[in-house]
């Protein structure tokens, strides 16, 4: 009984790193591979990985790096995988929860060379951060969102059933982010219902943003 407790106590030396209780293997492997890597090469790879995270096509950059014989392909792949994972995990956590010093400490624990730690920190905490966060917001599971909204107000002057109709109606066209387009007609009464409901949701959103439920401590 007591020996089990002892084992557990030894394992938990401090609060776990921002990477969680168990460091992902690709990061551990990368840490080892970074030892004799020259900084210029490191920075090239880092740049490519960051643009990949931003969603840009970095195949050209990666090819250029791979062709440079200085780094064998296997080693390159470990470094790239580790960097990608490290940055993704760090960017996931808002800056209010993960402070730069703690981040650097955690990287020191992994025995990553100091200059590289500074470079990593400048990506995670530097001015590129907002752009990277914007990409993360767009990704992730989502229902289709409204890409394009067009509308038209028509007045039916006369129909086959009514010589003098003078009835307005609305035609809406919605193009969604999944590529589908929906075109449908909206009777005026339904339009009012739609407008009322949207206003109601906005009001509820405003209330929600003020309420104490948002004081959930991080």
């Amino acid at each position: 009984m007591s020996s089990n407790h002892a084992k557990v106590a030894v394992g938990a030396s401090k609060d776990s790193s921002f990477l969680g209780g168990r460091i992902p293997s690709e990061i551990e492997i990368m840490a080892k591979q970074l030892k004799d890597l020259d900084q210029e090469m490191f920075r090239k790879i880092l740049k490519a990985v960051v643009s990949a995270i931003e969603g840009k096509d970095c195949r050209e950059a990666m090819k250029a790096i791979a062709e440079n014989a200085a780094v064998p392909e296997e080693r390159l792949s470990y470094v790239v995988a580790g960097m990608y994972r490290l940055l993704k995990e760090a960017l996931r956590i808002p800056t209010s929860s993960l402070k730069q010093e703690v981040f650097k400490e955690d990287l020191r624990e992994l025995r990553i060379p100091e200059e590289f730690i500074t470079d990593f920190a400048s990506v995670v905490f530097g001015n590129r951060r907002t752009a990277l966060e914007a990409v993360a917001t767009q990704q992730g599971p989502r229902l289709p969102s409204l890409k394009d909204f067009r509308w038209r107000v028509d007045v039916a002057i006369s129909t086959s059933s009514l010589a003098r109709a003078l009835q307005p109606s609305i035609l809406m066209q919605m193009k969604l982010s999944d590529g589908k387009a929906h075109r449908f007609e909206v009777p005026v009464s339904k339009f009012q219902e739609l407008r009322y409901n949207v206003a109601l949701i906005l009001k509820e959103m405003n209330d929600l943003e003020k309420r104490s439920v948002l004081n959930i401590q991080d």
């Binding site: 993704k88 996931r92 956590i93 808002p94 929860s97 966060e133 993360a136 917001t137 990704q139 992730g140 599971p141 989502r142 229902l143 289709p144 969102s145 409204l146 909204f149 509308w151 107000v153 007045v155 039916a156 129909t159 059933s161 009514l162 010589a163 003098r164 109709a165 009835q167 307005p168 109606s169 609305i170 035609l171 919605m174 969604l176 929906h182 075109r183 449908f184 007609e185 909206v186 009777p187 005026v188 009464s189 339904k190 339009f191 219902e193 739609l194 407008r195 409901n197 949207v198 206003a199 949701i201 906005l202 509820e204 959103m205 929600l208 943003e209 439920v213 948002l214 959930i216 991080d218």
Partner: protein
């Protein structure tokens, strides 16, 4: 006011048949037809009901359908031209409908006229029509790409009915962030401004 009904041969025949029907029965017939007038596709009476009517009104099948069609036609024309009850009565007497029947038409028409006209006016025919609006407001706490969020998200469910498939309503789901919803709302406000400028 221009005549809404011209006295054709079939109208003459129909009128003759109508004049033979008992007044009470005819009034009830009128109300029933008026109820269903704004519905395009439905038959006013089922097969069974038509059979019963034949015996109740002592008319054979052909005469009965002539009577029903003519009565419906007169009412549809009344809707189309939005005639006043007095004018309607005059026109009916002109085609030799008995005064009591003309009066019955007049009374039934006065009772329901504005409603029927309004319902017919509201009828839009479009391939797809928005029928139902539902929504859900969620607070997103985290996702695989971001931890520790407190992001309100709304999902709008729009029920769109296809003109040809009476029972199937297609559900369109659209998700909005706060910002996106605000944008959408502003667009709806613009539409409203246009509607307001019409009146």
């Amino acid at each position: 006011m221009a005549a809404i009904i011209t006295e054709t041969q079939s109208i003459k025949e129909a009128v003759t048949s109508i004049n033979t029907i008992e007044l009470n029965k005819f009034s009830r017939l009128l109300s029933r037809i008026l109820q269903k007038l704004h519905l395009k596709e439905e038959r006013t009476f089922s097969e069974e009901e038509e059979q019963k009517l034949q015996s109740a009104l002592s008319l054979d099948k052909q005469d009965l359908s002539l009577v029903l069609d003519t009565t419906a036609f007169i009412l549809e024309q009344a809707v189309y031209h939005n005639v006043k009850p007095a004018s309607l009565k005059q026109q009916l007497e002109k085609i030799h409908l008995s005064p009591e029947k003309a009066e019955a038409f007049c009374q039934a028409w006065t009772a329901v006229c504005p409603d029927v006209v309004e319902k017919v006016r509201q009828r839009i025919f479009a391939p797809k029509k928005l029928e139902h609006v539902g929504w859900q407001l969620n607070l997103q706490m985290a996702k695989s790409t971001q931890a520790k969020l407190k992001d309100p998200h709304a999902v709008l469910e729009l029920g769109v009915r296809n003109e040809d498939s009476q029972s199937v309503v297609e559900k369109v789901f659209v998700e909005f962030s706060h910002q996106e919803l605000l944008q959408f709302y502003n667009q709806l406000e613009t539409v409203q401004a246009q509607l307001d400028s019409l009146t």
